[in-house]
């Protein structure tokens, strides 16, 4: 081993990447992710099937009886569940982001990206941007199905606000799933992990049914479940009702998750060997 020290030609700090270049790189990577969808349209199936299946399942299987307990019928339940489903759309799309990301890593194409002079965040931002587009698409599908099963839109502005909130919460969760996608070995385990975590959170919340009839210990859980706040907020915005408190809870969770997990995701992505 030689003890000689090398002196670089220009010993100066690394040049930062200009913002415009960041945007250009992210744009190029968004184009790539959209081409993936064009090449493999089946990857959009979940965005179509999820809103259709969930809406039909809950409205027609549980709608009658839960509607009764709400003091109405099935149509009463439609007004209850659609805001909940809309709120969880961002979350459901977030789940898929880790799987796709994991596949990228296993294919070696990520090595090429990481050996290029681009900001490491560009790859992650592009992924999130495309997932948000998928989420908007799924939301449109949901609205079409909702109108078909008789949903009455009370407030279009409230509806748009709920979609925005769902997107905010969904993108916060995407950082969690991106981290899982980088850390975990296979796409299947990322998917299984997402399912295991989200399933109890979704059903142990006020998304599908009012929590009043649940046992005390479960209510304690649902009260602190951020998905309850998310669903309650969407319901308040779309149907009328309290908005301020659930909105704060949802926003604090979103900001907290992003602040915590975005640096972790970028760091894991940067140091993955």
């Amino acid at each position: 081993m030689s003890s000689a020290t090398l002196s670089p030609d220009a010993v100066k700090a690394d040049t930062p990447i200009p913002v415009r270049a960041h945007l250009r790189h992210t744009g190029a990577l968004i184009r790539r992710n959209l081409l993936w969808i064009r090449q493999d349209p089946e990857s959009m199936f979940d965005a179509i099937l999820f809103p259709v299946v969930f809406t039909l399942l809950f409205v027609y299987v549980f709608g009658g009886s839960i509607g009764q307990s709400l003091g109405g019928g099935q149509d009463r339940y439609v007004q209850y569940v659609i805001p909940g489903l809309l709120a969880m759309m961002g979350m459901n799309m977030a789940q898929g982001v880790g799987t796709g990301f994991n596949q990228d890593f296993n294919s070696g194409v990520m090595d090429r990206f990481r050996s290029l002079p681009i900001g490491r965040g560009s790859v992650l931002f592009a992924k999130i941007a495309v997932e948000l587009m998928r989420m908007l698409f799924a939301t449109v599908v949901l609205l079409v199905v909702a109108l078909l099963v008789g949903y009455d839109v009370h407030s279009w502005s409230g509806l748009l606000a709920a979609v925005g909130l769902s997107a905010v919460f969904g993108s916060a969760l995407m950082w969690v799933f991106l981290t899982l996608g980088v850390v975990m070995k296979s796409a299947q385990s990322v998917q299984a992990m997402g399912f295991l975590v989200l399933m109890p959170l979704q059903f142990g919340s006020s998304i599908f049914a009012p929590t009043a009839s649940m046992p005390g210990w479960l209510q304690a859980f649902t009260d602190y479940n951020p998905l309850s706040a998310l669903a309650d907020c969407a319901r308040g915005l779309m149907e009328g009702g309290p908005v301020a408190h659930p909105l704060w809870v949802t926003l604090i969770w979103s900001v907290g998750l992003t602040a915590l997990m975005a640096p972790v995701a970028v760091h894991k992505f940067r140091t993955k060997s």
């Binding site: 003890s3 010993v11 690394d14 744009g27 190029a28 090449q39 070696g108 090429r112 990481r114 060997s273």
Partner: protein
């Protein structure tokens, strides 16, 4: 202080590595590696699986950081100036790192855009490189439908988009059939003709001989030999001539005769009774001719005569006295042990 251009081999250094160390727990992937690659040359890094070749390439392409030591590529420090460094390198990985879902053209266009080419320039560069690597007809097909050779060519094209000063080829032909391998070699030779500096890692002596002008042999994270190809070949005994007389009883007399003539290379002639062949280490074509002449003069009928390049195993044996990746004190079990020593 050693200036970057104080290269012992002479000429400006494109890659300079001093005392590079990378450990993974107990495993010393790199254990103090020094390396100098002169501008415009092809440096072959030869070693078995697990020798640390890929770790070296990954450090030099900023994918991982070293635990100790220093490395400069085109004057940029791998740790302190990764962004500037990434602008001047091209990487072709062991596993063709193209996006299989994207068409060939889109793969190249994407990388052009990521390298800050304008839309127009990225389009033109993609067209140009597809043409050059004979992929124009497959430009619109997803890379996943390409054959192994086409995929490697696309991978090479992708690493050339930014006109890199230094190109890393990490085992570019591993897993390819011989015909495709030759295709890839031709492409690499053409690229070298354009003046790019190449760092090639390989497990095959033949590949190193085809492409590299200088060779660094690594084993278990350490450099065990370096020098010009011819020089190293001489040290490991050059080629081996395999002569098979029709009558196996002729083997020993033939061996004795050749030893007496003293025309063989560094090592002694060996008899491989199992295959009924005589192994003659030779250094030059003149020696080959002399052996054939001697065999003919004695009137011995032979059924086959072939020349073989030393295998990686033999190179290692002769350089280190042990088999590639095996512990120092292991006794080689092969009957041809003596061949290259």
């Amino acid at each position: 202080m050693t200036r970057i251009d104080d290269n012992p081999a002479g000429g400006r250094s494109a890659v300079t590595v001093r005392g590079l160390v990378k450990h993974y727990g107990e495993t010393k992937a790199l254990d103090g590696v020094d390396l100098d690659v002169r501008e415009g040359t092809v440096m072959g890094v030869l070693g078995p699986n697990g020798a640390g070749k890929t770790t070296l390439v990954r450090i030099l392409s900023t994918l991982i950081t070293p635990d100790a030591g220093q490395a400069l590529v085109a004057g940029y420090d791998v740790v302190r100036q990764p962004r500037q460094l990434r602008r001047v390198i091209g990487l072709t990985g062991q596993y063709a790192s193209v996006d299989e879902k994207l068409p060939g053209w889109e793969n190249l266009y994407l990388i052009g855009r990521l390298l800050d080419l304008s839309r127009k320039d990225a389009r033109a560069r993609a067209d140009e490189l597809l043409e050059r690597f004979s992929l124009t007809e497959a430009a619109r097909r997803p890379a996943g439908t390409y054959s192994g050779g086409m995929r490697r060519r696309l991978d090479l094209a992708a690493s050339m988009i930014g006109r890199p000063a230094v190109l890393y080829l990490d085992e570019p032909t591993t897993g390819l059939d011989p015909r495709t391998r030759n295709e890839v070699w031709d492409e690499v030779k053409a690229m070298v003709g354009d003046g790019v500096t190449v760092l090639l890692t390989t497990q095959y002596m033949e590949e190193a001989e085809q492409l590299a002008s200088e060779l660094t042999v690594v084993d278990r994270g350490k450099v065990i030999a370096k020098g010009g190809i011819e020089e190293l070949k001489a040290r490991v005994g050059g080629r081996t001539l395999r002569v098979r007389p029709v009558d196996p009883l002729q083997l020993r007399p033939l061996a004795g005769m050749l030893d007496e003539l003293g025309i063989t290379g560094l090592a002694a002639t060996t008899v491989d009774t199992e295959t009924g062949t005589l192994l003659v280490p030779i250094l030059s074509d003149e020696q080959l001719t002399a052996v054939v002449g001697a065999v003919t003069a004695r009137g011995i009928t032979i059924s086959s005569i072939t020349t073989e390049l030393p295998s990686l195993d033999e190179v290692f044996l002769s350089l280190t006295g042990h088999r590639a990746g095996a512990p120092q004190d292991a006794t080689p079990a092969d009957s041809r042990v003596e061949v290259a020593v």
